[in-house]
Assembly symmetry: C2
Homo-oligomer: 202 residues x 2
């Protein structure tokens, strides 16, 4: 296995990859917005919990603080231009829904909208806000998830590889590449079925 022998020690920076560049939708009273967040992740499996880190000066900050709700919409490669634009331009200045022909539907479990152009909408209820510096972290419970039928397999199970999700790595957007293994593959024993197959191979 490759050893990286020569390394430089740099000062700390927000370097972690790949991360999901997601589109967040939120609304409160007459205000409604969509914006890009890559500072997100899962923080707990049960209860299912996530977070988004948001700068207090962003237009959506007060919307989410007041509604205590938001939706994480997973982004596809088809959405890459909208994802980039929604991370650069503010909802104060431009209607980002209109610009890209983005449409929404009412969320099922929280006071927000889900993005119709995203195959997975993660409906979140804020439980805690932690100020950290440039960003405040909104910790939230994942109350429900909306899954497009087009990315289910014939048994009704989620086949997320059909979604063509977008990845973000150090200032660049990428598609997802080749499948290299499934969770647990390194300890999987050969099953009898596999052994039989092998034996029957001439």
């Amino acid at each position: 296995m490759k050893n990286y022998e020569k390394k430089q020690n740099w000062k700390g920076s927000a370097l972690l990859a790949p991360v999901p560049p997601t589109l967040i939708t939120c609304q409160h009273e007459e205000k409604k917005n969509i914006f890009t967040v890559a500072w997100t992740g899962i923080v707990c499996t049960r209860p299912a919990m996530t977070y988004i880190s948001v700068r207090p000066e962003r237009y959506s900050y007060d919307i989410i603080k007041n509604s205590e709700s938001f939706v994480i919409n997973l982004a596809t490669t088809e959405l890459v231009r909208a994802v980039d634009f929604c991370g650069v331009r503010s909802g104060k200045d431009v209607d980002k829904f209109e610009k890209f022909g983005l449409t929404t539907s009412p969320a099922k479990s929280v006071d927000a909208q889900t993005l119709d152009q995203s195959p997975i909408n993660i409906e979140c209820k804020v439980t805690q806000i932690i100020p950290l510096g440039t960003h405040d972290m909104f910790i939230a419970q994942i109350v429900s998830v909306d899954v497009a039928e087009e990315i289910l397999d014939k048994n009704g199970r989620l086949a997320l590889e059909k979604a063509n999700l977008l990845a973000y790595s150090h200032g660049q957007y990428f598609s997802i590449g080749k499948q290299l293994g499934s969770f647990g593959f390194s300890v999987k024993k050969k099953t009898k079925k596999n052994n039989n197959k092998k034996r029957n191979r001439k």
Copy 2:
């Protein structure tokens, strides 16, 4: 743009992708371990802060709680089998370093070791522990980052695409695919240089 019209509303689950399947190294007194964490992300840009969510019953939990330090080692596609194994098997039962020939070097800024087979080591100092359910979240400052010279470009800047990082999406490991754009590309004006190029093209 594609609309996903038919959706099913599922109960909340830890569904977010792609996320980075990282190898965490930690040590305290005579104990030393390496284990896999995909529940990680950036939580603040300045100061640079991250988190890892860890089950209290994991062997590394007390090590990190006591040393207040850990290193996030970004995983390459070459490490996929080690990543999977280190997420499934406990350091209580097996020396995972030995099994995969993994070696470490002392971290520069925290009381931990960095993985030699990873091109990026993120050295972290714990600032806060938040219990959430199955997992506790360790929030941490990124004190420094070790970057392999092999993934720098000729100007000494980080060219992370050279690292062949691994991605994790709903139980499967993937390579990173095609580059689709750089941050800000959706609002970039054509430069004079580009215009000239265009004009000169016959």
